[in-house]
Symmetry: C2
Subunit: 168 residues, 2 copies
């Protein structure tokens, strides 16, 4: 039985946020995948991860309730761009390689279709994050273009950011 | 003597913002160029147009002090993306076709170079805004890719958004 078969995805609760926050910090400080501010407190970080309606933030938890990762989704732009969704994902280092990111990705795509979004766009997928790029392509996204040297990766220096997209 | 030769570009003051706000509203309500929220009050709109350091917002004014347009610039992303600038531009309908957008574009590019940015990226140039696309190409930008049907144009329906970029 695979780990993902026991993964539950549900809206994030306050306890989940407290449990997930070290992963949020770890992912940003690793410096390989997200251009978020460094050194945010748990309260400052809320504004970067906890979506308000019409957006949503969820967690993936295992059968014992341990938070494995989180995703958030909502309109990529307001007004005349609000028919296109965007999303972000983080999986704890201990849980990687077990399909948690895929489960979150599938959940978010289903949610966005249900909400009536016409498409989903990722604005900044780091090109050296090859596992993520391959996963998103497997889930139907294509690379619209790559902004060269737009992310200052800790390990790779300045690398490109893919804009990825799929119609829903 | 062309109009632009008499155009002065300077940091926006409170009086300028009050004078510029009807143009801000007119541009958004025209529904052809910006995916900003519709119906913002002058105070709500501040957060969408008035940049705080390290960003900047400027106005272009003619020789009698009339505000012709405005531009804002700053980091496109925080953290590991903050070496890339972005910018936005609006010119009042009465002042279009006289080089105000070009003057603002040249000013912003010079400012970004001076601030040490490595590149400038526009995230969402509406493909049917052909005057803007041509101007940015003339000022050195290239189209990295076009997100299809990502902008709900009032006149054209769903049209693409160009991601445009240049190294500085």
């Amino acid at each position: 039985m695979s780990r993902t078969s026991r993964t539950v995805i549900r809206e994030i609760a306050e306890d989940d946020w407290v449990e997930f926050f070290p992963t949020f910090t770890e992912v940003i400080e690793a410096g390989e995948t997200y251009a978020f501010p460094v050194g945010l407190s748990i309260d400052e970080a809320r504004g970067w991860w906890l979506e308000s309606p019409p957006g949503v933030t969820v967690v993936a938890v295992d059968e014992s309730g341990v938070v494995l990762g989180s995703a958030k989704s909502g309109p990529n732009r307001p007004g005349r761009g609000s028919h296109v969704a965007t999303a972000s994902f983080m999986v704890s280092s201990a849980a990687r390689g077990h399909g948690v990111g895929r489960a979150l990705g599938e959940w978010v795509l289903a949610w966005a279709r249900e909400q009536g979004y016409a498409a989903m766009q990722f604005n900044a997928v780091v090109e050296t994050n090859v596992a993520a790029v391959a996963l998103w392509q497997d889930l139907g996204f294509t690379i619209i273009g790559t902004v060269p040297e737009a992310f200052d990766s800790r390990g790779h220096g300045r690398v490109g950011l893919h804009v990825m997209h799929q119609h829903l």
